[in-house]
Structures are given as C-alpha cells and as structure tokens.
Symmetry: C2
Subunit: 554 residues, 2 copies
C-alpha cells in the first residue's frame, strides 16, 4: 500500500516548521524548521523608523520565503515524494494581522508604506492597542453587546478589532488604503491557494465573531469611530469557514516553489494552540489540553453551547465541528520559572548544578521533588503577568506568602510550580461549576517534555490523570491532521477530525496519576489558595493596581 | 584636672566587651573584647548530654573568666590606671537566667548537676519554654491578670517565669535545689560586689514585675503548678533596684583579678538594648531609639504611665527613673536581608559585586538606592520571623506582593528594607495613637553603621529625622554611663542619667532628614501596607498559621 502523508505547517512567533505525517499511522516522516529572517521588530522598521512601546511587527514576506526551504527539506528528510502528500494544513499565532490590497498584497510591500509601522504585520503579542481594547470593553459593557458573554466579559488588546481601530486612530491613511484586514494564517492560505477563506477558529477566538451572532454590529463600531462603521463589510468578510474544510488547491506557482503537486488541498487555518489539541490526540469533550509553555493555554470541548463566565473564548465549531471549544489561559507559567532561574540562583547552586552535569532547572527540580506537599509552608498567586482566566485582569501581580528565615530557593521554586497548578485547577473548576466537564488532562509543549515534577504536581493538585502528547510538535501535527481531513477520504485522508486524531495522534505510555494522599494535602492548600485568590482578585483587586500606578508614576 | 573614667561591661550572646569612657567628655579611652570560651551550647553539654530542640545554654563561669582579660586589656589600651576608674556598669542580654545556691554558686558547677541541662544558664534565645509561655498566657487571659496589660497582652517564652516553670516541669530536682533563680546580669553584679541586687530593668521587662503590682501572685503561680506557688518568695526577691543605684563596691578578690580598686562602685545591671538607649544619648521622652541588628528593638520613654496596647513591655523607671520606658520589637530585620543575600544572589551579581570591590550588600545597596520610592511596584510584610510588635504573633510569616516578570533582585531588596521601615512606622504610630509621642529617631547597632540607604528610607518612610549614635559600642557606653551615675558626684561621676548621657554620649554630625516628596509617595504605599497588615494580621491571621501547621505535619 502506498504511503499517504499530510503536511503540517506550523507558524510560531520566531520560526516556521514543516512536518510530514503518515495519515494512517501518525508516524512523523520528516520535518524542517526555519527562523523568520526578519525576526520580530519591536524597536524599529527595516528603514530605521522607530516603533512605539508595546509594538511587535513582522514582515509577511518572511512567511512565504521560508516555504521554499522548509517544505523541500521536510520532503527530503522523509524520503518522500510529492505524490505521497495528500493535503496541507496550516496553524498560525493569532491575532497576528496585516492590512492588504484587494489582491492580498501587503501594504508594507508598497514603497510608500515601507516606513509606516501600521502597514506591517502586527504580531499577537503587540499590546499597543490596549487603550482601544479598554474603550471597546467599556462601550460593549454599557451597551450589553452579546459578544462579551462569549469572551468572559472582556476582549484583549491582542485581538483583531482593537488592532484595527488603533490603525484607524494612528495611521488613518493606511486604514483607508487597506482593502482587507486579515489574520496572517488566513492570508497565508490565500497566498497558497488563491482564495480568501477565513477560519472560524481565528475569527471566533480573535475576531469577536460568533456562528450565530456574526461580527460586532456597524452601530457598535460607529460609536467607536465614524469611519469604523463599515469595517466588517469593507475589510473583513462574513464568509467564515469551519475547520476541516479545504480552502482550495495549491497554486501552480507555489507547487513549483515547494516541489509539491499543484491542487494539493490546503486546509482552513487553525490557531497554533488549537492545532495542538488535535496533535495531543484530543477531538472530543471532557479532555482539557494544556499547551504548556511560557504561558499556558487551556482548551476543552463540549457538545452543547453554554454561556459561561470567566472563559476567555467560547467558539462554536472552534476546533472540531459540532463542539464548542472553550479557551482559557494563564498568562505566565514557564516565564515565571525562567524569571526565578534568571535572577535568583546563587553562585553556589549554579556550581552544584554544573557539577551534577545538568542545568539549574533540573538541579532545582530534583531538590524541589524531595519536598512533600506543604513542606515549603508557602503559597503563591501565579499572577506575574496578571490573571488571564478566569479574572481577565492584566493589572494583578504575583504574591508569595509564608516566607520565613528558613525558606530555601527550592521551597520557592516548588511554590511557583504549585501556584501555576492551583491556577489551572481554578480554571478547571470554573468550567465544571458551569456544566462543562473536565475529566482528564492532556499536555503538550516545551514544559510537558522536560519537567516531570511539574506534571506530577499538576496531577496531584487537580486530582486528575495527566497524559502527554507523544509528539513534541503537537501544533504541527494538528495542522497535518487538518490537512488530512481537508484531503478527504477520496484522496486517502480522513473523514473527520475524530478519525484523523485517532489515527495520527497519540499520547506517551507514561500517565501521571494523582496520588490520593498528596491530593488530600493539596486540597487543604488549595482552599487557602482560593481564599488568597479571592482576597487579591476580588475583594481588594485595587491594591495591586495602586502599586502598579505608583510604579508607573516613578 | 585628673581624668575620671567609667567602665562599661557589655555582655552579648557570644562575647563580652569592656569599654573605658571619660565621664566628662565621653571620649572612649580604651576597650577590649573576648569571646566566651564555651560559646553557646545548643546541641550538647560539655559532658556530651544531648539537648532538647530550641535550647541555648551557656557556662556562667565564662562570664567571670573573661573579666580578668578584658578589663586589664581595656585599661592598658586606655593608658589608664585604677585610680581613674570611678564606677562600673554592666549590661547583659535578657532573659538569660540561671539557678544557684544561696551563696550564688551556679548549680551547673556542682558535679552532680554537670550533666543536667536545666542547671546551666538558659540564654535569652532559648525558646524551649514556649508551651509554658502559652499556658501562662492562657491562664492570665482567663483570669485577667494585671501584668498582661504591661506586656501588650502576651508574655514570651524568652522570659524568666516560663523558663522557671519549664525547669520545674522538666527537672524538678534542679528546681528544688535552686535557692535562687536569677538573671545573669544580676548574678554578675552579685559576684562582683557580693550583694544580690536585682535590677528593675531586667525584672520589669523579663520578670513580669511592676513597680506598683510587683510579681505575679502565688495563686496565679499555684494554678500553673502546686510547687510553683512560692517561687517568688523562695527563689526571687521583691527587693528590686532602680537603675543608677550602686549595687555595692567591687570585692577585693575581683579588684585583684581585674586590677581595679576595691570598693569601686558597681551599678545595678541593665538589659543590653536598654543600655544602648543611653549610649545613643537619649535620656528623655519622645526620642525613639532603634537598636538595629538581626532584629530591631524600639525603646522610647514617656513621663507618665499610660496603659497601652501592642507594646511588648512598659516598665516604670525601666531605664531612667521617673520615666516609663516602652519596648517594642521587630523580630527579624537584618536577618531578612541576610536571608536574601545568602540564598538569592546570582553568580552574575556576585561577580559584579566582587569586581566593584565591595560585598553583595553594598552592591545591592547601590542598585536599590537608584530606584525612586514605589518604582519597584512591590510591597512586603516584614514577618519572616513573625510579628513581635504590635501583634505579638510568632505564627505570622513574610509576604511579597506586586511581583512581575520585570521584578529585579534590587527591587526585592529595596522592598525588604521598606517593609522593615513600614513595620517601624506601625510601631511608632501604635505609640502616638495612644498618647506616647515619638518625635525623632535615634539608631544604633550594626545596621546603623553600614547601611545608609536603610537610614534614608527609615527617615523618608517615617517622616522623622534620624540620628546615629556616635559610638559603635552604644550598649557598652550605656553601661559606662550607668557606672558614672553609680559613682555619683562625690567621686566625680554624674548625678543623673540625663546629665551623664549629655556629657558622655553623642550622635554623629550627619542627620538623615526625611525628603518631603519621597515621604509623600511613601505615605501612599504605607496606606497599602496598613491594609495588607490588617488583612493578614487581623482579618485572616489563621491563613499563615494553617500553612505553618500543614508544613509542620510534613
């Protein structure tokens, strides 16, 4: 039997990866990765134009340029040929957006806009549109806009509409000349197959679009700015496509550049974290996938649409058709551990770690693992970068209580891990209390690969078994799964995500099971965490904001 | 005119110091110091007997042995002769107590008790009597004992009565054979001049004695243990002497061993921190002396006796006759900074500190000094070793809030210093709110010598000018002042502490004045500190205790 492969293209913040996967077995045949040559621009444009604070831009040409290297490399690495490749899937960071002409030409590629920051791709982590997000939240809350309920009551400065409104405020001439304003993932699909086919995943999570309600109304947008009224009809589109559909076939010019066959089906784009759900073998309800990295994204599906509080996004057909997909998040996880290791490891411990042949992470993991739950006497709130879910409050900050003269660095390191586990349990309970079950945990991402102590603590704290995605490239694998579904059965692909995920994705053999005695102790500590959470998050949330305000004044 | 000198003998935890001071000018003529040869015993006795946890013992013979070296050395260093030395003062740690026979022979010097821990000197920092202190506090509170009001509502395991009761519980045979149970400072005075003359300072602060009420009653003591009923009449004495009086004259045998003249007046003993008040030039009301070290002791005098809450000790004539002396404390100050520097200085910063030619303290002092108030965005509660004043709650613990990914080590170091300053302001305000003015601050002790950033922060936070004791040996100077008053005017000494302190003690020329703009910012942050203090100290003080309880179970 001839091998059938799907190609997953995974676009991260710094690099893109191509992964070829056998659609029958999930075997990863070959892969290749390339950094974006232009990197992330946060200080100035290529021509030297200085950028405002909180800005993060990219050159869309980089997204195209890497394809002619990573695709052929992955094919070579997999000893594959073009005939074996039946479909292409793409996942991308979001909301990473750009303005283009009607034909998809990025405005930044026009010489007259080369020195105009708002003509370039605005990356997901560009937070300059916070004032616009604040304005939208205030207006929406006063008008009881229906979309707020789907986003836990608040939208983020990272999303498409605040970024578009800021463009209108700061660069009206760019706004005027932008025929389209589009997610980079959708734009890439458009480039490859010649059709603008916007994804329900990107529109639903980052574009305030709902399957039933559509986009925000012209009257809402007009109230923000008169020229913003017809933004949706002029620069977006109300044709939104579910995942699994094919956006079209690969254009001949791209077939030539990549070595693939013309007309190879290209799937509707996914958001990277959502692709990782499929790549973690999850395509049904009750299984929460944690994409563990510098921050954590929590995704769980449910068969019915339920209004729920404190969930950052609830999108019908957001990942798998006929399921709502709920997204929550912790805005700093790995970042907190990095912060600690970067600044607070003494020369003595650094030398010991080196002598033991490992890095400081594995050194402190070992020391912290030797402590029973509660032995550190500490409790932390994991808000080093605010609280995304369930409070959606970026103005909160981190807390440690219980410090004594006997507190050791490993006590603090363990408390930081525990704090992120408690934060995850708060998110889980926010779902279960509103009727969305979370029966088991699945993890993927960098931290899932390398920190066994963290995984065991998450199992012990949540009282749930925890499985690890077998693939270290879960997002790319998820993209390949989408490619196999876009190919369809007639090309040897799959009929559904459920079928594709079952065939192509798996978890590791080792399952982290909660230990009942440790879970019992953690239940006591978690009760204190909830009190602390409530004290600083609900009863006196302004204390942290006042400290931030005083800091900003200095 | 012939020079008149007073000898101050300062007994600390690890060593004793002799200081000769010109009573007219305060010039420090000569000094010498010696470690106690036997050190602090916290693991086993000299014969190998193992000690229970929290124990800290000492050999009283060491107190005597050092005298024959440090006194002659100080005399030599000062080119002095015995005729010039008109009086001797002694300060000592407290409550540091020992059981003796009627003639003052320590029980531990009897061969039959050499292996009996309770026969040795129990140092102030021996905390084994915590159960006895708890029992006394509970009984006193239920019976509304009058002494509780003088100690902020709670007595400490460090004090004389809990230590005596524990001896009765744990070593009843030692208790029975102890004719006297006495502060080491009073015992040393007794050895030198042959008269048991107990000090109002030691009895008042550490012996639950009040000038009006006397000691706790036999009925109270009997309720603790039948054999404890007559403890006061059997093993203490109700003859208590004010500071400034002479206990007697130096015995011929000690004159010979030290090279001093027989009959040189020996003053009633002081507690070390209280001697430092005089040594900081303070002998009247409204000036709070902070003895800054691993912990901080706060002492301020007031002309009227006022019942007050949250003050660890209020003693009539406690330092200077006709003034009440109020003592408060912060149980960890320098210890917190040591904790931070010991565990959390990265190799990079350690190397930079070395390259800059200083230690990590001065390196971080410089970095933290570059930050304006509030720029760290942090707020800490300085409870690493509980809160001594005003809450008297050893079960509390340290807190840091406001942590972000941008938080740097110097931000934390500054926050720790600020937290101890806020803790001092809480103590100050606890006095002023109850009618005891605190107009200016005087500091002495190790931290006062070496941390200018801390001194400026204390001035800025409290809004009060801050003066530094000119002597780096403020306690020994205070003891010499007491010696000069014990000598009296007829020997060329002083008539009063006020006169003696004015002549013999001074402050440095540099005064740290509060900066009004920094003080204004700190007022905002202090308002948050008070909220945080109230949250963890009063509204939910049990959270920290539950965390400690969970820790103890592990």
């Amino acid at each position: 039997m001839k091998r059938k492969l799907a190609l997953g293209l995974d676009y991260g913040t710094e690099s893109a990866r191509a992964l070829l996967v056998d659609v029958a077995t999930g075997k990863e045949a070959g892969s290749a990765v390339a950094l974006f040559p232009g990197g992330v621009m946060d200080q100035h444009l290529p021509d030297g134009t200085a950028l405002e604070p909180e800005t993060a831009l990219q050159d869309p040409q980089d997204y195209l340029n890497v394809l002619s290297t990573i695709v052929p490399e992955a094919v070579r690495a997999g000893n594959a040929n073009a005939e074996e490749i039946i479909g292409i899937g793409i996942d991308f960071t979001a909301s990473t957006v750009l303005p283009t002409l009607t034909d998809g030409t990025p405005l930044c590629s026009l010489p007259k806009f080369a020195g105009e920051p708002y003509a370039w791709v605005k990356l997901w982590k560009d937070h300059a549109a916070q004032p616009e997000a604040d304005e939208m939240n205030a207006l929406a809350a006063s008008g009881n806009e229906s979309f707020l309920a789907r986003y836990g009551g608040k939208i983020s400065s990272e999303w498409l509409f605040p970024k578009a409104l800021r463009m209108l405020h700061k660069a009206p001439q760019v706004y005027r000349e932008a025929d389209r304003f589009i997610e980079a993932g959708d734009w890439l699909v458009w480039q490859l197959c010649g059709a603008e086919r916007r994804s329900a995943c990107q529109a639903g999570y980052k574009g305030m679009w709902g399957k039933t309600d559509g986009f925000p109304t012209p009257s809402f947008l007009e109230a923000l700015h008169p020229d913003f009224k017809d933004f949706v009809s002029e620069k977006l589109t109300t044709d939104i496509y579910s995942l699994g559909e094919a956006a079209g076939g690969l254009l001949p010019e791209w077939a030539e550049k990549t070595g693939l066959l013309p007309d190879t089906p290209v799937a509707i784009a996914l958001i990277d974290a959502h692709a990782a759900v499929l790549g973690s073998s999850v395509a049904d309800a009750g299984k929460m996938v944690l994409a563990l990295g510098t921050s954590t994204c929590h995704l769980v599906m449910h068969p019915e649409n339920i209004p729920a509080q404190g969930i950052a996004g609830i999108v019908e057909d957001g990942i798998v058709p006929d399921f709502i997909a709920c997204e929550s998040g912790q805005s700093a996880v790995g970042d907190i551990f990095q912060w600690f290791m970067r600044h607070f490891v003494s020369a003595e411990h650094e030398a010991k770690a080196k002598a033991a042949g490992g890095d400081v992470f594995s050194y402190f993991e070992q020391k912290a693992a030797a402590l029973p739950p509660g032995a550190n006497g500490l409790l932390a709130l994991d808000w080093w970068n605010g609280n995304r879910s369930p409070l959606m409050d970026a103005g909160l900050s981190g807390v440690i209580i219980g410090l004594t003269l006997a507190t050791k660095p490993e006590d603090i390191y363990r408390a930081l891990i525990e704090a992120t586990a408690f934060g995850t349990l708060m998110i889980i309970e926010n779902h279960t209390a509103q009727g969305i079950p979370v029966d088991a945990l699945y993890v993927c991402g960098g931290l899932a690969e390398k920190n066994e102590l963290l995984l065991q603590i998450y199992a012990d704290v949540t009282g749930r078994s925890l499985r690890i995605a077998a693939s270290s490239q879960a997002a790319a694998l998820g993209a390949a799964i989408a490619g196999s579904v876009a190919a369809g059965t007639h090309r040897g692909g799959h009929a559904s995500f459920t079928e594709a995920a079952a065939s192509m994705a798996r978890v590791k053999d080792t399952i982290f099971e909660p230990d009942s005695s440790r879970h019992a102790i953690y239940q006591h500590i978690y009760a204190e965490y909830k009190r602390l959470f409530s004290t600083f998050g609900k009863e006196m949330p302004d204390m942290m904001k006042r400290l931030r305000a005083i800091r900003s004044e200095q």
